[in-house]
Symmetry: C2
Subunit: 231 residues, 2 copies
């Protein structure tokens, strides 16, 4: 029986759903699609889909993200599998949830073939979603809050060159706290993970801030010598 399965056919019992975070103007957003057909037509949902027999689950997540939203080459990690027997009303489906971090401004959103709409929502202004998607989203947000403090992943939400205030606002939006400017800067300065681009902001109506880049290679080096990112 197994031999009859084609590499391109889908695994019936498994799906993928993605919690995609974006950041713009000091606000943390998440990306939702509106279903254009099927039993959930007209309702908002996490972007997702099916896994084929020929691809890994990770690859399926990448493919789906690209086809539903046009987004590729981004930070994408598995959250976990959600396996309640009644989570999906039509039949038994276990979903593997992923979360992604993207710089909103880099992408023009294109609704994919089964989506009638794609849109960013502020994290605090999310509509009711289908199935257990609100629960998956909550889990993803918790994971982001945790990860952002222990690994330098937040940079994926910012443009390549950013100001220290943008970075601080990012952390404040994710962790839902206020931070002290001076202490925040000192802490990041000590880590040696930021490269000063020696450029300034343009077109701002106040003193222009210095622009920085995240130094990935330095992070790899420091990690090897036992350094632990903590914020």
């Amino acid at each position: 029986m197994e031999n009859l399965i084609q590499p391109g056919s889908i695994i019936e019992a498994l799906s993928i759903d993605c919690v995609i975070f974006g950041f713009k103007d000091g606000k943390l957003d998440i990306l939702l699609v509106k279903h254009g057909e099927g039993i959930s037509e007209g309702k908002w949902a996490l972007p997702g889909g099916w896994i084929t027999y020929g691809e890994s689950v990770d690859d399926a997540a990448k493919r789906l993200l690209k086809s539903l939203t046009g987004i590729s080459d981004i930070y994408l990690e598995q959250l976990k599998a959600f396996g309640d027997p009644h989570r999906f009303p039509v039949k038994r489906v276990v979903t593997v949830a992923y979360y992604a971090l993207v710089n909103e401004e880099n992408y023009a959103l294109i609704p994919g073939f089964t989506a009638s709409d794609v849109q960013w929502f502020n994290i605090h202004d999310v509509p009711p979603l289908i199935y257990d998607h609100n629960q998956i989203l909550d889990y993803g947000f918790k994971r982001l809050k945790h990860t952002v403090r222990h690994e330098p992943v937040g940079f994926n939400l910012l443009p390549e060159k950013f100001t220290l205030l943008q970075l601080q606002e990012l952390y404040e939006a994710i962790l839902e706290t206020k931070m002290d400017k001076s202490n925040f800067r000192r802490k990041l300065g000590k880590m040696k993970l930021l490269i000063n681009c020696k450029e300034k902001q343009k077109d701002v109506s106040h003193r222009a801030a210095a622009l920085y880049k995240f130094d990935k290679r330095m992070y790899v080096t420091l990690r090897k010598s036992g350094m632990v990112f903590e914020l």
Copy 2:
């Protein structure tokens, strides 16, 4: 077609594997089973099995653990799904990995129906395992190292009443470091998470140490008021 599926029949494309940690005499162990039949007969593997249509994935993990080893009512959390298309040679199977923490001394191991042997192995003395199980084990060990520092889960590996030295040795075994006795004790003292049982060790050939219990209720209370466990 979906309507023909019985609640007790298994989901073909999904399995479960468990990384079960134990602790004894200052050593961190993991539990392996030797397959008694099938294509992997005679080889060591993580305990695992199949999910039925009627149960959640979490429940399936609990059930399998119980039937394969006799162990129940323990700390059990999902790691993540492993979904390489070639990880399982016979057909396409995605496995959902779990990790568990148990007090070795509480359980007499009973090989389950398809296992010819069950045995604890020191974490540094693990044989080659079937499929991608060594990779899953590594991932689980990394997760344990991380979690044990940020949540008070290590207590699940100890007897209900334990000495401070046992606790320190547990952390040293998991994190693979040496710690300073005095500083370790001070840190735990400040957290207020340990109840002094006002009992002493018995039958030891040196000064008897005080026994402590982990105060779960206090932890819940302190968590609510914003406390974060860190070690």
